[in-house]
Symmetry: C2
């Protein structure tokens, strides 16, 4: 809603005529107004439009179109939702703030710095604990389930009637998944999925409602336990990132609004800027706990947070990550009765890749690149299928009960498919010495001392299946098993992602990739007649896993480092990087990354790193919303209340101006005030008249704003009497007196850079006299993006 401020926009079609005028001629006439007309250059600046939208309609005001369109195009990635507000990473440097900062001593700043470290330590510790809890509970639950099913299968293998085992397995899975899905669908739908897209949005500056609440965390943790134990094709790693972020948002604020408990500590950190830094640390701690990858965690936060690099901040994030992996490691070592043995740094453990036995050679690099391309292709296919599935779900499966039923159905199908695959597989392998503890090998129809190889892949938690694919000695799997497994698991995982359960896509991706990677390795050694130089299908499984994961999620540096840290071996850095790069290039050609697709389908106004390359011909004048609702320094309460109550605009930021008396011209900018600030002012009735009559009235302090953060009450809940409406409010002390401004001629990339680098929420556009002519918000920038055919403009909609 903060975007708003659009009352009327000259639409493209009406301005399109200008472009026929030809040559870019600066109209130099001594005035300060230089205006460029666009050049006609063969569709170069062509704006692709939604074909369903009549151009005629464009000329009507945007307001109208906003109201009418949603029903026509219910869910589409070419829309930008107006329902998301922005976070404000720009400090409001008003008088209150400056006074506080000026009062604070050198020592005070030191104490703040120390609190930041303490908070990061706590975030790491708690995130590690949560990871540990999830791991142990999932282990126990899944263990119990597999043992029950195994015994049942063993019982019926000889006497016949294995269909009973199948039903047992399917029912067990479905019940677990049902519980998880019910919790998510009915209590906290935002806890569905991995949470990574949501955290990406949060770090990008979009306020996703309820994403960092305590309730979300509880539902997430409970949900992920149910869905992983329920045997879905999911992992528990993605949700850790979300969990870490919630922990961070909670700890750093020193209170829980849900529990109505305020510890009266860390009050200084109750604003978006500081909170974001901690949430970055939390996300990093989550990655670190999930993959045992502290550096990867930091890079993930940076890649997604994409903000100005600050040495101390990064160092703190790294500290949180380290503490997190260490806590997990330590408590797991106690749980495993090996106190002090720090060999389990993450939830997923790739096992040891020894550089002696599994080294790669120069001539293998082209092969890796081919695998990267395959990963990119399969990833694009995965994303494409999931895209259609998600569209389908948005349209037809939006009622919670349907969502629960779908989740149960998937769980049952997963069990059935797995069972069928195991049942019809005749790939028997001799039983190793060390497999009894870690796996649940099924003998089924194999000879004594042998086990069903398909079952190692299906009848197991996905983490263990990945590890087996990486490390089992050559010959443990036959190619047909792997091929069938890849095929079925690919579709299962694709179907599963997007269900209303909380679960991640990392592990299924790794598993699919590891399977076809190992298959690739085995086929390779067939074709080279088993020459020893191609030994080690485990290596190919690793590369395949990287390729598949890269093809699906399209992360770059952070994913490379996560993979390298998870393997614990630096040697594989180059091949993993090459593979991820190839997968990204190939994949990007066909479809976007999975997270980006889901962000787009939610119509979130997400800002990328840079403005679209070909957008230099757009200027602030064309991008901004105007006219802008402004307030005077001393404004009538009635005016303010009316403006805030206007639901059709619902603006969030208001320039404060100095009106020239007896003039109709727009006033000169002297500040910017936010809706949230005005709400607090109204609530405390900070009126000029009151200050005069009751001198003893307590002066409003920064604390009052912090106490209200982040859940400011709506304007409707504040009662303002008719008398009070006639009072005046002096905004000078509370407004941000130095908001960032740009002239109207500023190009879009320049506006974008300023906006993004400083994490702004509102950017004022002024004319040469310093008068407000427009306001740029996140949605004004996010609506331009590069499509297949050049610059595209998204529609704004009240979805």
């Amino acid at each position: 809603m903060n975007m708003a401020n659009i009352t009327k926009k000259v639409s493209w079609s009406s301005r399109g005529d200008d472009s026929a005028r030809g040559e870019a001629t600066p109209l130099l006439n001594g005035s300060e107004e230089v205006r460029y007309t666009r050049q006609p250059s063969g569709g170069l600046f062509h704006i692709s439009r939604l074909s369903t939208v009549d151009l005629e309609e464009e000329i009507t005001s945007e307001e109208d179109s906003v109201r009418t369109r949603p029903n026509m195009i219910p869910h589409n990635e070419k829309l930008l939702s107006l329902k998301y507000e922005s976070l404000d990473y720009d400090n409001i440097e008003n008088q209150l703030f400056l006074e506080e900062e000026r009062r604070m001593s050198h020592m005070g700043f030191r104490c703040l710095e120390i609190s930041r470290w303490v908070i990061c330590g706590l975030i790491g510790f708690l995130t590690g604990l949560i990871a540990c809890f999830i791991d142990i509970v999932v282990e126990k639950l899944a263990g119990m389930k597999y043992i029950v099913v195994k015994q049942n299968i063993e019982k019926y293998t000889e006497v016949g009637g294995l269909s009973i085992s199948l039903i047992l397995w399917a029912v067990l899975n479905s019940s677990l998944v049902m519980i998880g899905a019910i919790v998510v669908a009915f209590i906290e739908p935002i806890a569905a999925g991995s949470g990574i897209p949501q955290i990406k949005c949060y770090l990008n500056g979009v306020k996703i409602p309820r994403v960092v609440r305590l309730k979300t965390l509880l539902v997430k943790v409970f949900g992920v336990i149910c869905s992983v134990a329920g045997g879905l094709a999911v992992g528990k790693e993605g949700p850790m990132i979300h969990s870490g972020a919630v922990v961070a948002a909670g700890v750093s604020q020193g209170r829980s609004t849900s529990l109505k408990k305020d510890f009266k500590i860390f009050e200084y950190f109750r604003r978006d800027t500081e909170k974001r830094d901690f949430v970055s640390a939390g996300a990093a701690a989550g990655v670190s706990a999930a993959f045992g990858a502290p550096v990867g965690g930091v890079l993930f936060s940076l890649e997604e947070g994409a903000s100005f690099w600050n040495q101390m901040l990064t160092w703190r994030i790294f500290f949180a990550s380290m503490i997190s992996t260490f806590t997990l490691n330590f408590f797991l070592s106690i749980y495993n009765n090996k106190t002090g043995d720090l060999s389990n740094p993450g939830l997923i453990n790739f096992g040891r890749f020894d550089s002696d036995t599994v080294a790669y050679n120069l001539y293998e690099i082209p092969l890796f690149i081919i695998m990267g391309a395959i990963g990119g292709l399969l990833g694009a296919l995965f994303n494409f299928l999931n895209y259609w599935l998600t569209i389908f779900r948005i349209r037809y499966v939006h009622r919670p009960c349907f969502q629960v039923i779908e989740a149960m159905l998937v769980a049952a199908v997963t069990a059935t498919v797995s069972f069928t695959m195991i049942y019809f597989s005749n790939d028997c392998q001799p039983l190793g010495q060390d497999q009894t503890k870690d796996d649940y090998p099924l003998q089924l129809f194999c000879a004594d001392g042998e086990y069903n190889s398909m079952a190692t892949a299906f009848f197991n938690t996905p983490e263990r299946s990945v590890r087996s694919l990486f490390h089992n000695p050559p010959g443990s799997y036959n190619p047909l098993t792997l091929g069938l497994f890849t095929l079925t698991y690919f579709f299962l995982a694709c179907w599963t992602y997007g269900l209303t359960v909380s679960a991640g896509v990392f592990i299924p991706s790794l598993l699919i990739g590891a399977a076809w990677g190992r298959l690739f390795g085995i086929l390779l050694s067939y074709f080279t007649s088993g020459s020893s130089i191609w030994a080690g299908p485990g290596k190919y499984a690793l590369i395949g896993a990287a390729a598949q994961l890269g093809g699906i999620v399209r992360m770059t540096l952070s994913l490379t480092v996560i993979m390298v840290e998870a393997t614990g071996n630096v040697t594989f850095g180059l091949p993993i990087m090459l593979v991820l790069m190839t997968a990204k290039i190939v994949g990007d050609y066909f479809a976007e990354g999975l997270y980006d697709i889901h962000i787009k389908l939610q119509s979130v106004p997400f800002l990328h790193y840079e403005a679209p390359a070909t957008s230099h011909w757009l200027t602030a004048r064309e991008v901004m919303s105007s006219p802008v609702t402004c307030f005077n320094r001393v404004e009538k309460v009635g005016t303010i209340v009316n403006t805030l109550s206007n639901t059709s605009t619902n603006h969030n930021g208001f320039p404060v101006v100095i009106q020239i008396p007896d003039s109709d011209e727009p006033g000169k900018v002297c500040g910017l005030i936010l809706r949230s600030q005005l709400i607090v002012l109204l609530k405390h009735k900070v009126f000029v008249e009151r200050a005069r009559t009751r001198l003893s009235q307590r002066k409003l302090q920064l604390k009052d704003f912090r106490d209200a953060y982040p859940r400011f009450p709506p304007i409707q809940s504040i009662h303002v009497s008719q008398d009070e409406r006639e009072c005046m409010m002096d905004l000078s002390e509370f407004m941000n007196p130095t908001p960032y401004t740009v002239p109207q001629e500023t190009s879009l990339p320049r506006v974008f850079k300023l906006f993004r680098a400083l994490g702004l929420r509102h950017l004022l556009v002024v004319d040469s006299e310093n008068r407000v002519v427009g306001l740029v918000t996140r949605k004004d920038l996010a609506r331009y993006h590069m499509g297949k055919h050049g610059l595209e403009e998204l529609q704004l909609a009240q979805t």
Copy 2:
């Protein structure tokens, strides 16, 4: 010089009186001017001044003081030099640029993107080659030297007369070092040292003259070979970072100004913004080649470049790093006749730390933290000694011939001390099987089949000594040897850093740390009566090395990752991080990091990540330089030439304003033009009159500016006739029409953030009418820093 624009500054002493006025009272009177007076709060806002400067003198204009002061305080870290210009990371979005961007198609941007990748690949490849070249030549030279000396020592050990060996050794070392020092001192002094401080400054936005020239690279490479082969206590790793940066700056520009060769490619990248990105990649490639640490390289660039994180840019930097380590690895494998064996990813190789044999345990962590503290203390001592030495050198050893003599002296002393230590040592160890190839063991007075243990440390390249300390089995060194070695090497390294030779401090730091770390480990096992749990002094050597290096250079995340990548073992992540953190905290308490000290001693206007914490009470009004020299949109050539020729001001950026006719008021901002642009305009005589008379005259293009970049001719070299002085110049097309501006009330941290996040060179300060009232440049911001007693202000000087 770009700072300049100071004609008169109200000095602090004159304003100091105001602070007595008391309470911060917003003078709210309906006008837009809110001004805060400072609060008197017990020295909280106390500005420490240089005691040598009379307060009276302050009231005179800064101009005068600049001229008189340098002789009084010749070199002091409390000065800020005016001689350094800034780089401009803000795109000049003038009409020419916008037209070019608008003409460019989607495909054009793709091609640019591909060129960027190609350039990064080339940077990585060439940097790797250079690293390979240095490694092989140093290896050969040092090998020859050690064999000659060894034979000589063996010859004289029995017959007596070892003083001849000493002289031979000293003379060999001195001659090599002499050649290196002569080249550096007489041909390119900027190539001295590791180059890391210079690259830090460059990435920070300071233009260090000649730092990325081809000549610098050649001298650097030649110099480092001589100094390492000459047996100084130096490493060849630091210079690789500088070399990588030079390679990047050269390759990305598609030409060599020194060789007068223009390949007419990559012309788009001929501006500071693009060049900086490539230099980051080059520095990263250098780190990567030096330590086999591609991720560490990327983090180094980010930590030092400290700019906005862009996914594609980071990914490209990583690509350059990967290619660099890969190239080095590949060519070394060919050189070692093991083509395809990729086990030498960096110049320094820490050898394999196997996690089975060298694991750490939980109770060792307090010990590691203690070692971190020791490292911090020793590092601070090192930096402190080196600080005084550098001051001494700046004052008394500034003539090139003295510098060469000092370098030779150090070389001779190093050889003598080493020889003495070896001679008097009676630590004989049995000769291992695998030591003949890699080391140069000296038997000296030891029994047959034994070797002198002191000699492994001294009679070897530092890289090999480090490796021996990490990996030689327990018992290879006795504590006395290690203690003596630490002591002597500490002082030698401290004396050596700052000599006029090109060499780095990484390896000596690691070596000192490894020595006392191993000593620590040995003592530990003594005190615990050799209990097996404390086994492995190599582990303590590694931790000691990290502690010492961290204590000296104070890098954080990047150093952790570099160390982890160099050991090739992720397990040591947490202890290394804890150790580096402790070392930094302890070290920072006593002295700054070595690079920061050297940057300060050069009086470079370096901007840190954030403004000093307690600087909120300073506003743009107080920080800015004013009045500002402005130009009109259409300005008389004579005025421009006169302004540019004024050596007393030497401004680099000029606001372009619209003067209100018949008014004395400052004009309204409508743009910003740089000295370099004006020079090009004058050179091409782009005068309004000419355009009228000769219509056929070629229109000035962006290419003309790019061709002149980066060595714009001085104004003196451009001839402007008396007639031409009367002409007019129209700046509209060339100026940046949308420079960033801030109001006068903006607080320093806010100005700082804007300036730093966008990499600005000039920031205009405007009043409420949009009239220029001041200009903020890098030096205006860099002069405020946190001292021991609160905010300090540096003096500006023409050093």
